[in-house]
Symmetry: D2
Subunit: 326 residues, 4 copies
């Protein structure tokens, strides 16, 4: 349940204030050059403290690769890695250990497991995503060797809006658009493993995501068939492509070689920097005071996470495609 992928599988572990976060990336093909310095730079893009309004928690996020890569190449064995948690301040979380923060996972985890680690949200913390970018960064390096690039962009938030929200102890959401270029036609499994179904599951697994669409997405619902028809054409190089891309690069659940385009909606950060009324575990009203270090808007930091999830799905399907013929 803490794993994703079929051939290329990522399994992760770690609580926000435990000793370390970590993961195992299994199924990476052998002999792929992996540049660990480049990987660290990619992971750093997710670190807090780089944007206005981002958390002041200061984690170095130093990636320690424990297996699977030797002399700069993947061995075909599982790539185990950890990232130490250094700047955890668990005392900030004494208050919430007996009450439920609204729009957080406190109540649902208690209902599910009967106990929980309240320090920093435990495993429900977005700190969990650091393991995703390690694995995703490795997958992106492999994809680049195949000519595939992935780029995500956050919807812009003007400084004034951000400053005002921050000043009022409030938070913001946002949208990230992600584009995969250079991928071959034929990725994705028809029926339950449609490429966009896998991408949706991967993106919806990122904390705070509330919506996913690809191509023209929800706008498609109000269009006529004739308005969104991606007509075929023969290109100069003799290949067949489409003139438009309302389909977002996926038809019948399988990539058609055009750009794969998707949009992911993030809810506003649930922790406000103001007092909030809530209840304790017995249901009694209690005021919740702002503690901990949190982002005003998590979307900029989520860009490499979105890219990582896309990379894991695309590379997995690239490997699965190899098994479609004898």
């Amino acid at each position: 349940m803490n794993s994703i992928g079929k051939i290329l599988t990522l399994t992760t572990f770690g609580e926000s204030h435990g000793p370390a976060m970590g993961g195992v990336l299994d199924g990476m093909p052998a002999g792929v050059e992996i540049d660990l310095a480049e990987l660290q730079r990619f992971v750093n893009r997710r670190r807090p403290g780089q944007n206005i309004g981002s958390s002041s928690r200061d984690e170095q996020d130093k990636v320690e690769v424990l297996s699977g890569i030797w002399k700069g190449k993947s061995l075909g064995t599982p790539i185990g890695f950890i990232i130490r948690n250094n700047d955890a301040r668990s005392a900030d979380y004494e208050e919430i250990s007996h009450c439920y923060r609204p729009n957080h996972a406190d109540f649902t985890w208690q209902a599910k497991y009967g106990l929980r680690d309240p320090r920093g949200g435990g495993r429900a913390s977005a700190r969990e995503t650091v393991a995703r970018v390690v694995a995703g960064g490795i997958a992106m390096q492999a994809l680049r060797r195949l000519g595939v690039t992935i780029e995500a962009v956050a919807s812009p938030v003007d400084a004034e809006t951000l400053q005002r929200a921050m000043g009022e102890g409030d938070t913001l959401g946002g949208i990230i658009e992600c584009t995969v270029q250079g991928g071959p036609a034929g990725l994705g499994e028809p029926v339950y493993g449609k490429l966009h179904a896998q991408l949706a599951a991967a993106m919806m697994s990122i904390p705070s995501v509330h919506g996913f669409e690809y191509g023209d997405g929800f706008k498609m619902a109000a269009k006529r068939g004739s308005e969104v028809m991606d007509l075929f054409e023969k290109r100069a190089d003799g290949t067949i492509g489409t003139r438009t891309n309302h389909s977002g690069g996926i038809q019948g659940g399988i990539s058609n070689g055009e750009d794969i385009v998707m949009r992911i909606a993030f809810k506003p950060v649930p922790t406000l920097m103001r007092e909030i009324p809530t209840v304790d575990q017995a249901g009694n009203p209690v005021p919740l005071h702002p503690h901990g270090r949190h982002d005003v808007c998590v979307v900029p930091r989520a860009v490499p996470i979105v890219e990582s999830m896309a990379a894991l799905v695309i590379l997995d399907n690239y490997l699965i495609k190899k098994t479609n013929v004898l």
Copy 2:
């Protein structure tokens, strides 16, 4: 790849114009009463010919259960079933066997497998979904015994709009909203198996779906945290619930006991009843003439399919939840 679910798994098979569609629902708990007449009525809701503008293909969709149910109860063994294809007219598809229909899966299947069954779209046809409603109908009966109900509603299309699109040989899309009521808190697996990630994957696997959101969905992205806060309250019966439900019944990927609410966007039907320019397998331009029997708007028929996919995911997670404690 033609399977979905972890404990309760559905595997399906069948091409649109082959002898039969079918499936295997494995992991259904033993001793659950299954009413086969009720199941047939549920499956009938998906049949064509019940709405204006729906396909004239006349399939009886008689469900033949081959195993797993005996004397009105599930045995705990896999429930195998088939539905014969009776009204296939494969001659309608001679033309398309050598060309690619826009916005269909013809091109991508050819790219993936190197060959395809063009008759009625083969396995890429939405006829595949008949197996989903058989399995989903069984899951819904089990859920009802647990007090869980699922209801989906299609966004209304006025008759005039439908008639005009039909008259112009054009097609329509639409949106379906699905609500799960009565489910317990604690469903869903944090991290990669978040309940909404599983629901997204299940819904996005339905043919023609281009978008998924839950709770306030995409609208969340433009809201402030203070606007979408579902504050807790103690209810008359002593339980804890939320005053509002912006979160759509899921927090941190786990159900909180409120209604689970999601919206699914369908693109317009890709087959127009007018001549369309396309290309053949060599990339040469060819006109495509309308053939076959198709829906103008597939959304009304998709309602039981959406309910079925929701039922399969919810029941699967109900079973998984049993393993969260010793």
Copy 3:
């Protein structure tokens, strides 16, 4: 749980006296020629009535392929198939519906599920294996195109021994040795997916099997390292091979290109043709009278089943191996 395999997966269903047995073989690569007449002949090898002492149940075992194969070739879509049960005599099983037959699955199924279909043993019947030989027969045809052949041989039982056991209402067990020839080096996944671990699981899943070994097997335990060393040599064609094959073609869980050799032990058939003392569901002693139609020795009929399970595992690993490099 009624599925086996990772890329090439077989899911089966069916009770002994239900309407049909069946299965879905998913993940078969596209474009593979499948000869259905040859497949039927392979399935016929498992039919009863061909050996002295085999069951007199007369099933035609006509394979009905419902999907996935078109114009003699696999489509890459799931291959669904059924085999009707025609000669079931459920009345023979009235007696056992309230008592437990020794060495059968009656007691354990009741303990597990709280109910069971007693007719012919329900899903616990060895009739379930007919679906395995359908899938295995398809896999063998694909393997033959790759130059891989599989042959199993039952340990001989002399007619006199068989006649005497039959005359005394008793039964026999036996051993099957299976050899895979022509397979490439590199099949099998180190650690938990070792090729021999996968073969063991597949063979141990056949009804009545009580032991599995490969290469020198249990005899290895009493040998010294120097006695079982498969020394390498360079062969005339320039390839590297081993002079001996104590390892049974597998080293470190991965095939080395030599013959893969394994032995499977079957217990004697548990149904005796004589009165047996047993208990009813309340634990009270009851005599059990011989009923139904049963084999004296199931081992000859199990030969194509063993070959089938080997074929499924080998082909699955052949496909997995394709993903070991980018």
Copy 4:
């Protein structure tokens, strides 16, 4: 492929001479008391240097739990752990990086992946099993709370035999018998997930194992049905049991509540302390000189590994059984 289990899954990583071995145990139910000091003692049983003839590699095997356990209880989140490699002497392996050791995995890994980490056998080393005993030790603590105990015993080797083999630079194999007591009836999934099939796969995945049997095992093949019949009886406490246990506690693939008994055959250690003729990667003959630190007989150290694999399978099936009813 480096994972095992369905609900309770173990994923491991690590090369023999890399920085660390490690694993992730996912699916452990929440709220289970875990005694880490006891766990360390269990892991220590596998350490070298405790028996005559065992490797002189001196690893402390200090288990570092990184997640999933808090205040002495499991959280329901994945339990990540590492064990540092401290006493690796990679220089010992320079020679073998260009040649293939007989009965080792050098040749097959090279064939599969095109490259390999030769230091200490890389991931093919039995050092990999240290992660199994960490996970298995945790599972055993959970099982004990359920009244289930697991005990394995190695076939005795007299000191004189061991000394003589060691003196001649030779090695020995052996057999381990493992018994599970106190488990409930109803564990195991019929058909492909038979309890003994899962146990076989788990045991055969341990390095050097060449055979598996349960109950009377291979001896069954030469017996008559009447000789191995486990007749039922009503016991003093009103429960139903069997008078004998030829079936080894498993019937029809499902546990019957009697002791589960299995035997596992280990081949002799493949590294001899004498010169061995072999070939290099080009196939040219080269002498192989003994290097590294190796066991003469690995069987005593394998006892906790066998217990661990049994514990993981039994606990996983205990959890699966919970889903058999609604």
